[in-house]
């Protein structure tokens, strides 16, 4: 199969200013937005490029489109290419929807005659028929994005690049976009997406590339790359804690002050340090709410349910032991709680404890991947109303 895009040892360097002076020469250093990356894309492939913010995704897209030139390395694009980087880039707010369609179509290399002959098709797709001759400054952001995307349906390019353009519009419009993109893929177009919406990308793309700090970390099937992506993502989520000192106070009666966990081959052991300020601790239950990474409830475990009683000691440590086999997911979020069983007053932590249960055994089990993202219904067939 012929290669549509070939990237060979690509490096892209930018200037990063490190001073905030208003005059004369500012101090700067050079940074590599992309560092020695190589990959190729075959004709007809649909590829998703994922990574954290600042990993170099948009830079790579701009280089493939020809907007930026590489600092080192080569990029060979063997077919015609169009890019949609930003739904507002070609739009001028003083011009009408009609005018902006002509301009946007022109930036995609279409002739004025072609655009004018297909204007009705574009307007129908964008659902802006009633506002076609209204200046775009009176449009909502959603209307502008729909307008901008709709022009791309005329694109004749063999390769289409999309940067974060899957998330706008209502469900109906998103389905329309999705159907159109699926048609393009079926018709042999090469598609390249940058998005943070993994769920949409799974259904559109058969190959994922994970970028981090300008380097390719993983390249392959969606499952393989997404597991790796989450490893990176989760390490950097500030609101989650690993082995942290989570404090939970219930009135001035009782508190949970330290939570630790330990994973053995068979079990997950979670220890809570309980401090009692008031010896009257009747009617209290302490427990754990356990959710998966998509925040879907897995289970709750409590002292009462496990017939564990709190002693009269001022401080004690209690342990919950859960068999690892219970969890069919790689990461769990643990929220400790304290509940007054009579008044039903309840407190829990805002910040959960993150626990990595196991390393992934990579399979092609798409069902597992969908459950990983809390997608209960696996879309085996896309139905458009």
């Amino acid at each position: 199969m012929e290669k549509a895009i070939e990237v060979i040892e690509l490096t892209k360097t930018f200037t990063k200013y490190i001073s905030n002076k208003l005059f004369f020469f500012k101090k700067y250093e050079l940074i590599n937005a992309l560092e020695n990356i190589s990959f190729s894309i075959n004709e007809g492939e649909s590829v998703a490029l994922v990574g954290k913010n600042g990993s170099g995704k948009t830079t790579l897209l701009k280089i493939l489109a020809g907007i930026l030139k590489p600092t080192k390395g080569t990029v060979k694009v063997n077919k015609t290419i169009n890019v949609l980087l930003d739904t507002h880039s070609c739009i001028h707010k003083d011009l009408t929807g009609y005018d902006n369609i002509l301009i946007s179509g022109k930036t995609l290399g279409l002739s004025t005659k072609e655009i004018k002959s297909k204007i009705d098709e574009i307007v129908d797709f964008a659902e802006i028929k009633d506002f076609l001759y209204t200046p775009v400054k009176h449009y909502s952001n959603g209307m502008i994005s729909r307008l901008s995307f709709s022009v791309t349906i005329l694109s004749k390019a063999d390769i289409l690049l999309f940067d974060e353009v899957l998330a706008f519009g209502d469900i109906q419009f998103q389905q329309k976009v999705f159907k159109h993109l699926k048609n393009l893929s079926t018709n042999g177009k090469t598609l390249f997406f940058v998005s943070h919406d993994i769920r949409q990308l799974i259904t559109l793309c058969n190959r994922f590339i994970l970028l981090d700090k300008g380097k390719i970390i993983a390249d392959g099937t969606p499952i393989k790359v997404i597991h790796k992506y989450f490893d990176y993502l989760i390490k950097n989520i500030d609101y989650l804690c690993n082995d942290a000192k989570l404090n939970l106070h219930f009135k001035n009666i009782i508190s949970i002050e330290n939570i630790k966990y330990q994973i053995t081959n068979e079990n997950l052991i979670i220890q809570l340090q309980i401090n009692k300020f008031n010896i009257q601790i009747n009617n209290l239950d302490i427990g754990l709410i356990i959710r998966d990474i998509s925040n879907i409830l897995i289970t709750t475990i409590s002292l009462l349910k496990n017939n564990i009683e709190l002693s009269n000691k001022t401080n004690e440590t209690i342990s919950f032991i859960i068999n690892n086999e219970y969890f069919n997911t790689n990461y769990i979020l643990i929220f400790p709680y304290i509940l007054n069983t009579i008044t039903k007053e309840y407190v829990t932590t805002q910040t959960p404890l993150l626990v990595k249960i196991k390393d992934t055994n990579i399979t092609d089990n798409l069902a597992e991947l969908y459950s990983f993202f809390g997608m209960i219904n696996i879309p085996t067939k896309i139905e458009i109303n």
Binding site: A65, I67, H88, H92, L95, D99, K106
Partner: protein, 258 residues
């Protein structure tokens, strides 16, 4: 590198983006495109009522109204090109950094918008010639040469300024002074005879001075030795060709630097 300018797609781009510039320029105005008539009408009012009748600035210059009008016509298009071409890249950062259109289309579209305005000036100049000189001759067709030189000199300087401004936006701070001092140093509303002889040679190196004198020659039918302006014409052509070459070389860096 220069062959791209002669392709059909290039002219299509130019047509669409020039039309875009015109629509943006007159968007949300009541009078709309009729604002094009305002600058030349103001030129006539200033040269006839203010300079000629009130200040008597050209009491020794025959047909002073038309004389001053020709100067203002040349200077209008030159200053339009310098101002709008130099700032065109900054005004269209999104187009440059997120699309693949040929970047030179952006300053070119601005310059053609100014050319359309200037053609209105030319039409008024012909009308004034008919009113004041009561004649109309075929040599008026030669006005295309100063018009071309007007474009070349203004566009090249505007393009060079836009290239410098990619890295140093200090240019925009200096621009009003460049245009103001340039107008004083060019015989827009005064005769070249007022320039002292010991520095008059500079005058023959000034491309816009050549433009204005050519307009006066073909509209007023006065004798002007254009051969003396050969250095100015050569400078304009060199600046134009080197400006386009330099711009096209920088094209791929524009989206990083803007």
């Amino acid at each position: 590198m220069f062959t791209a300018f002669f392709k059909k797609e290039f002219f299509e781009y130019l047509k669409v983006f020039t039309w875009r510039e015109i629509k943006i320029k007159y968007a949300q105005t009541f009078v709309g495109i009729f604002w094009m008539f305002f600058p030349p009408l103001m030129g006539i009012i200033v040269s006839y009522f203010f300079l000629d009748k009130l200040l008597r600035a050209g009491k020794e210059i025959p047909n002073y109204t038309l004389f001053a009008y020709c100067g203002m016509m040349g200077w209008y298009y030159f200053s339009y090109l310098v101002s709008y071409t130099s700032i065109s890249l900054l005004q269209n950062v999104d187009l440059i950094s997120k699309t693949t259109i040929p970047r030179i289309i952006i300053p070119l579209a601005k310059s053609i918008t100014g050319l359309i305005d200037t053609l209105i000036w030319v039409i008024f100049a012909i009308i004034l010639k008919f009113i004041f000189l009561k004649n109309f001759n075929i040599s008026l067709i030669l006005i295309i040469f100063p018009l071309l030189l007007n474009f070349i000199s203004g566009f090249s300087i505007g393009l060079w300024l836009s290239i410098f401004s990619i890295k140093w936006r200090d240019i925009y701070q200096l621009l009003p002074y460049i245009i103001g001092l340039g107008m004083l140093g060019t015989p827009v509303v005064y005769h070249a005879n007022m320039i002292p002889e010991n520095i008059k040679f500079i005058y023959y190196f000034n491309p816009i001075a050549a433009v204005i004198e050519m307009y006066r020659k073909y509209i007023l039918n006065i004798h002007i030795d254009l051969i003396k302006f050969t250095p100015a014409i050569i400078i304009a052509i060199i600046l134009f060709l080197t400006g386009i070459y330099s711009f096209l070389k920088q094209e791929t860096k524009l989206s990083e630097k803007l």
